[in-house]
Symmetry: C2
Subunit: 229 residues, 2 copies
DNA sequence: GTCTATAGGGGGATAGAC
DNA sequence: GTCTATCCCCCTATAGAC
């Protein structure tokens, strides 16, 4: 019972293969073997995490021979590190791009973060849990390597927040509460989805509709929260 | 690099052992072997998840022989299922108890959920990611088994929410948005902790202080959000 | 109930043919 | 570059002594 969720997995694989076939038909794609392995690895690692993933799963998913995985990437661990780095980097870069923009207002930033992440995670719903559980397990150091940290710490977002506090437009002075709130409202529903679906019957379509609603709701809510005392 | 976080792990084990020793000294405790294994299993499974946990880790943590684990629990999987069930059950029961209470107001429920979960997760910070990633991996069916689902669906919380909407006290009519917001504001900071610590240097003590602040802030924020449009 | 020793199998990695 | 066959370690589980 614990390790087998085959039906779900097969379903997932099939839908993925359909996509590949489709893209090939459209002649958009003639992926190299190396790219095929990376795409498959990303998929499987994101879904199962490092330990539960077998290199055989990745090979099968990629439609290649197991030996090729080691030929291109030396080891499971090296392949994982690449996927992990790219995943975190993409995720953080998106945030950094928005938060560093001097031109956009704080309100606009909230809108963009909510909207971007809801779209991104709707497409790849496994990313948050994958990232956060694997960071905890084995890649604490990886975050330090990202060049994004410095730019985020001194980002336009923090300056704008500070100014808004000084102007009395925001009550709570700690900008981390602001970020926790924004990310919590945006990302948590995806992470807690099985729990929430357990509490109230809720199918995937209804869930996705709610997430789309939240793109507009979150900015309104954040605005109200920040003035509350 | 990926699999070794030994220093952190050893530190964790040591602090745990100190607690055990202390409790023994205080004569509060003469745990049976079975209980010792369960306590250790809970600790290790919560920290590493099912796949990354070796039965040897659990045996070592419990200070017992590896064979005893199988003697008492037949298999790693059976032991895991017990821990998983108890973890989810405790977590959900806490919520159910609060949400089902006919006597407490909606405001009081928000206060209690925030306060209870912040205390609970501060004590056992691995619970949220453990639960949510293992549910995703292999225990989707487990949620269905919990008798709590029915009682939650018809809980006082949902009735009170409906009434508040009818009275115009709450704008957003979907109670799941309300729950997502409450749980997101309460639980997400713990899950996103490494990320948030990456964005701004923040030590554990500062983090815990922020969480204590949030016990009071979340009810205020929720109140403001629900009236916003 | 608790231990030692070991069976048995799974999974990462590689040798070597093509 | 790609495949087949295989090595070998590690981990779960059990047999059997005490």
């Amino acid at each position: 019972m614990v390790k087998s969720k085959n039906t779900l997995y097969i379903c997932f694989v099939e839908s993925y293969l359909r996509k590949i076939v489709k893209r090939k038909e459209e002649k958009e794609l003639s992926t190299t073997t190396e790219e095929k392995i990376k795409i498959a690895a990303r998929l499987v690692f994101h879904k199962k995490g490092y330990s539960a993933t077998r290199t055989r799963d990745i090979a099968e998913e990629a439609g290649i021979n197991l030996a090729l995985l080691n030929y291109y990437f030396r080891s499971k661990e090296k392949l994982f590190d690449i996927i992990m780095f790219e995943t975190i980097f993409d995720f953080m870069q998106n945030m950094a791009r928005v938060l560093n923009d001097e031109k956009s207002s704080l309100e606009k930033k909230v809108e963009l973060i909510a909207s971007n992440y809801i779209d991104l995670i709707t497409k790849e719903p496994n990313i948050p849990i994958f990232m956060l559980s694997e960071i905890r397990n084995n890649a604490e150091g990886l975050l330090e390597k990202l060049p994004l940290k410095q730019s985020l710490m001194n980002s336009a977002f923090f300056k704008q927040h500070q100014k808004a506090v000084a102007d009395g437009k925001i009550i709570e002075p700690n900008p981390l509460h602001f970020l926790m709130n924004l990310l919590g409202l945006t990302i948590f529903p995806f992470i807690g989805k099985p729990l929430l679906q357990g509490i109230r019957g809720l199918n995937d379509k209804q869930f996705n509709n709610m997430m789309q609603e939240r793109k507009k709701l979150i900015p309104v809510w954040i605005k109200a929260m920040m003035k509350a005392k």
